[in-house]
């Protein structure tokens, strides 16, 4: 029996100890009318060897195309040590550290994670993870509604330059609580949120302003002006940031005069493989004075009976298992293992290493854009500074081009026409530090061939 250790003798003796004739008798409180028959529509059991064959074939079928797609999921190098350590059974097969004394490993790692995320974002405190970037933003919006006591409107300004999936997730998660999301247009030349567009909301009751950096187009937003506008308008500023970019960019904690109030984002670029979109890592950081409005687990450093340093879950009175319907969030299981991987990843890179990764991404993206825009009819769509992604305009429909590239084992970017029909034949391309000159030259060659045939 796979994964069940009982021998015939165990079974016999255990049934005798309980005082029942067979296992079936243990289900005698379930009304007979409800009992199901055999699950005949399920596939037959197969051995580990057979399932290895099946999964290997399916993996091979999908292949491993060279990836120039970013759009919220980034193909970074992950040091071998990260997952060798994170996959250790003691991290991998533990659960939420309810028994602190028997979970000091996980708890200390999460404390280190909180410390590193606070350092990267320049914020005072961090929690111990949320599901992913989009849900982290939804939680940040809910948190802002609770925290901004000067505002009654429950209106949130959300730029159109924010990741389209984030906008959808936030709508799905907060829309049932009378929270209104108001879209901010972007500047068609710069691809950024024009601070002047905020004039229309001047003096209105706005609960929070969402500020992505870099935005979905890879473009850098005027974060200082946007943050200052928010604070002048009694509006909270919510930063949505890429943690790798933060090695180069001004951290949200020091945006404008006072800094952002809440910073959140997708932690995948810190040690999580692309893995079809998950498991990833939502993070959320905030000012110390907002910490009691924070969702999810938080680890604190404390002392034991002997005065020795130790770590424990803290501020649990915010959480669902204590506060039930009045909790700050319903989250229970989070992404602890991904936070563990991110912590190890950051420890291995250090701030200088992370800065080199970010700089190499930026340089590769520039180089890629130079090579591609050297082709006739391929143009950059926006004229503002970018990090490691950029929108390019093609002379022909993007779907055809991308399909032909994909057939040659190259993912040449994301077609933006579904989410931004106003942009025409636009694709979003990305180059991380992993992309080589050779791969970029190959991209150029393949694209040229497609465009000239």
């Amino acid at each position: 029996m796979p994964f069940i250790p009982h021998t015939e003798e165990d079974l016999r003796e255990m049934l005798a100890a309980i005082g029942v004739p067979d296992i079936e008798a243990l289900f005698d409180e379930i009304p007979a009318t409800l009992r199901c028959g055999k699950l005949i529509r399920l596939p037959q059991a197969i051995s580990e060897m057979e399932v290895t064959g099946l999964m290997s074939a399916r993996a091979r079928q999908d292949g491993a195309p060279v990836c120039f797609v970013g759009a919220g999921a980034y193909d970074h190098h992950i040091p071998a040590a990260v997952w060798q350590l994170a996959s250790r059974g003691e991290f991998y097969t533990a659960y939420t550290p309810y028994q602190a004394e028997a979970s000091q490993g996980t708890l200390q790692v999460l404390y280190e994670f909180q410390s590193m995320m606070a350092a990267l974002t320049g914020m005072e405190v961090s929690n111990a993870s949320l599901y992913d970037g989009a849900t982290a933003l939804a939680e940040a919006v809910l948190m802002a509604v609770r925290a901004n006591r000067k505002s009654r409107s429950r209106r949130i300004l959300v730029p159109r330059t924010l990741h389209p999936a984030y906008r959808r997730v936030v709508q799905a998660m907060v829309g049932k609580q009378n929270i209104e999301l108001v879209e901010l247009p972007f500047d068609p030349a710069g691809g950024h949120t024009d601070p002047a567009a905020l004039a229309a909301f001047e003096g209105q009751d706005i609960t929070a302003l969402v500020i992505p950096q870099p935005n979905y187009f890879g473009v850098l937003e005027e974060v200082d002006l946007l943050t200052d506008w928010a604070h002048a308008n009694k509006t909270l500023a919510i930063a949505v940031v890429n943690p790798v970019a933060l090695a180069l960019l001004h951290p949200p904690g020091s945006w404008g005069e006072e800094g952002a109030d809440i910073s959140c984002g997708e932690g995948q670029p810190l040690g999580a493989p692309l893995s079809s979109g998950g498991p990833y890592l939502g993070f959320i950081c905030c000012r110390q004075k907002l910490v009691r409005q924070m969702p999810g687990r938080i680890v604190g450093r404390t002392r034991d009976l002997d005065g020795k340093i130790g770590y424990t879950l803290t501020l649990q009175a915010r959480e669902q298992h204590i506060r039930r319907s009045k909790a700050t969030s319903n989250i229970c299981t989070n992404q602890g293992l991904m936070a563990t991987a991110a912590t190890i990843h950051l420890a291995l890179l250090g701030s200088e290493g992370l800065e080199r990764v970010a700089a190499a991404c930026h340089a590769n993206a520039r180089s890629l854009v130079q090579k591609l825009t050297a082709l006739e009819g391929v143009e950059p769509l926006f004229n503002r500074p970018t990090f490691h992604e950029q929108v390019l305009c093609l002379p022909v429909p993007a779907d055809d081009v991308l399909r032909q590239l994909s057939a040659q084992d190259l993912l040449g970017g994301l077609n933006l026409s579904r989410d931004y029909p106003e942009l025409g034949n636009a694709i979003l391309v990305c180059a991380t530090e992993k992309r080589t000159e050779l791969e970029m030259d190959d991209f150029q060659r393949k694209l040229r061939a497609i465009l000239t045939c």
Binding site: V109, V223, G278, R303, Q320, R324, S325
Partner: protein, 484 residues
Amino acid sequence: MLIYQHSRSGRRATAQAPLQTADLSAIPKRFRRQQRAELPEVSEMQAVRHYTRLSQQNFSIDTQFYPLGSCTMKYNPRGCNSLAMLPEFLARHPEAPADHSQGFMACLYELQEILKEVTGMQAVSLSPAAGAQGEFAGVAMIRAYHDARGDKARSEILVPDAAHGTNPASAVMCGYRVRETPSGADGDVDIEALRRLVGPQTAGIMLTNPSTLGVFDRNIEAIATLMHEAGGLLYYDGANLNAILGKVRPGDMGFDVIHVNLHKTFATPHGGGGPGAGPVGVSERLQPYLPVPMVAREGEHYHWLTEESCPESIGRLSTFAGNAGVLLRAYIYARMLGGEGMERVAEYATLNANYMLKRLTDAGFDAAYPERRATHEFILTLQRQAKELGVNTMDFAKRLLDYGFHAPTTYFPLQVPECLLIEPTETESREELDGFIEALCRIKQEAEEHPEQVTGAPYNLPVKRLDDVRAARELDLVWRPDNN
């Protein structure tokens, strides 16, 4: 020692980042970071040693019996992990086009079909990232259903007093008011009390069955009829699905919507707090509202169902498709078990729980529901020991750690005083159960003879009992150079 305390300025794990520095002139100075983030500077070996040593300060399934009630801490098969981490699966970008995704999507499609069959539901979406998000999705679908019918008066969700805290919290996130329904003395929902709470304002009820009291609610058909006659829907919290896999299906009990915790019933690792996965299944009338994306099949070709093809969907709950890597592990596990293997899961999980319950009550412990069968878990109440000996449940729990066992769930459900919720799972051997039973009996004896030995526990762990009050009062959440 923190990783920061190993740090020395100028030290770096140099193999881990590109060596040449790049031209950053295209980023104007006003966007640039002025000061480097305070991250540790350590060598690769220092990092490896530090995190290896930290891992050794954890209890885990791989190292200890971990009978945490309602969490289903069963063995996580190694094969599931290694196959889900094949390089092509790890490298697949979530936006990869269909021609580079058919193998992955076949796994997801088949997992959807497997979950439909074991839950008795009509359709499944895999995207919720954990149980609580599955609950949110489920209640949001209940709301979408009532809204679509113009039935706007339904403003309340009923939740048993024994429910997980996530249930009421999820209902509130969907804009509902929560009313608690009491449990009767036998652990089943008090159906007369429920009858008084149900009305035209009721949108639905969230139930776990077997409940968190460790018993199967025998009135489930009557509850379903009562709810449906009042126009409300039934939500099944799948936290305890392990108890009934292949024996009785939520769909057959009358539930309209369910979530399944794959990190419990389908053996995916708990990761020190996650990631999990909380797929949702629905009956036919809720199918249009399922969260996107899902996988559909046309002939031999798989494609995504998204907002465009599911206009009535409650929407998207994660940036991409949920915790895909967890879904692959669950799929591999399901294939290795097959239908028969799943029935055995419920059988041996129930056998183990009833065996422990019998032996522990024989040894003088009090069951919370002595007249009832255990399901895959059961509750002991240590009220007597707390009153007579001054040794409470937390003390027993901490002392168990000294004996090398992770403690069961303590002080939950809230209405059973001084309770231990014990869930052994099917993957534990009889010897392991006997060892745990023996340890509890010895602790009881210690409590009777030398209570301070128990109240002072643990002694054999990296730290003694921690000061939670201090942790909350003198908040220290982040290391800084001035906070060493």
